[in-house]
Symmetry: C2
Subunit: 213 residues, 2 copies
Amino acid sequence: MPEKQYVTYGQSGGCGCGCGCGVEGAAKAITGCRFSLSVMADDYINVILGALKNIDTAKVWQQTDKLSTVYRGKQIHVEDAVKAFFIRAFREGTHMTMEATFSRGCPGDTTAEAMMEVDDTLLNDVRDVHFPVNCKISLYPMGIPNYMEHIAKVVNHAIDLGIYSHSTHYCTVLSCDVQDLFDYIHYVNTYCSETLSHYIFEVTLSVNSPTAE
Amino acid sequence: MPEKQYVTYGQSGGCGCGCGCGVEGAAKAITGCRFSLSVMADDYINVILGALKNIDTAKVWQQTDKLSTVYRGKQIHVEDAVKAFFIRAFREGTHMTMEATFSRGCPGDTTAEAMMEVDDTLLNDVRDVHFPVNCKISLYPMGIPNYMEHIAKVVNHAIDLGIYSHSTHYCTVLSCDVQDLFDYIHYVNTYCSETLSHYIFEVTLSVNSPTAE
């Protein structure tokens, strides 16, 4: 019987503290987003393939498996590609959700499997598309005792922007135009990458839900 | 213009450290799960309502909004209700995913909106139903520097159980029978509630995906 290959997260620094002291500098610059689109319709495959045909993902590294797709690279291009995919998939009247996990700075991360050597010109122009979105967000600043004040900071910014709906168990609910939501996602990723060593920002978007509030 | 009502997470302890020092003891015993089922079919509403009719949620506090449902109470009853809902919604050949966020110990939590004064007898018997599930998991132990070793601990337990598929960016992928998966979720919630002050355990389940590996 072959020996089991266990994971050794938190040991790369050799400091024995279970933290991420050993993470390489270059990996810290990589923003990633793992996302899954759920289309509540029989022809969900066509909706997804149709959206993919109408976006340009040349400036992100990507991989798709049974559960989700991951984009990795510069923050602005990862955000641009995810936003374009969601907007291109939107169809009037069709209920659709997208679970998206933005993250940066994981101690277990690698410099491989990312596209960083690209310029800053965005590839997708979806600025003129507008529709209302409901959204729940949860921010997880890792490895620090004062994480709650960073969460309060980004929630209060949503209140300032007028896109905040309410706070509830385990998440904050936003309600706004899709453009405002992605502007806010950009703000959170920027704030976190400048302020935190490692964070995860979970976002679930929903359009055309039949559920009354 | 009315004054904005900002959130004040991390300030309840009055210690000024941005942590959760002020969380009440009783709130720490409450396990919660916020979940959304996505059914990739035109009649998704019938699938969800049909599942709800066939489960007993009398031992959890619950609330549903446009984005998700939350159950709160004793760990075993929250797990029992979520598991029964997912299993009763399953339909041969229909692609379905469920995003579930288990959590306990949030410093912003309240003792309200939970059902704790119930006995330990489970209400749903779905033990004999079997089907294969793909799943991605991410564990977030909050507020401590050595969080990576707790993540490694639960991932290595999945390896020991033989349900581990692979590690990838921002998550770990499991592949197993639905019963084994919920046994594992119970193990993680138990480990975390005994070991950590505050954790979030994100689980996304998928059945009948048409995507090849």
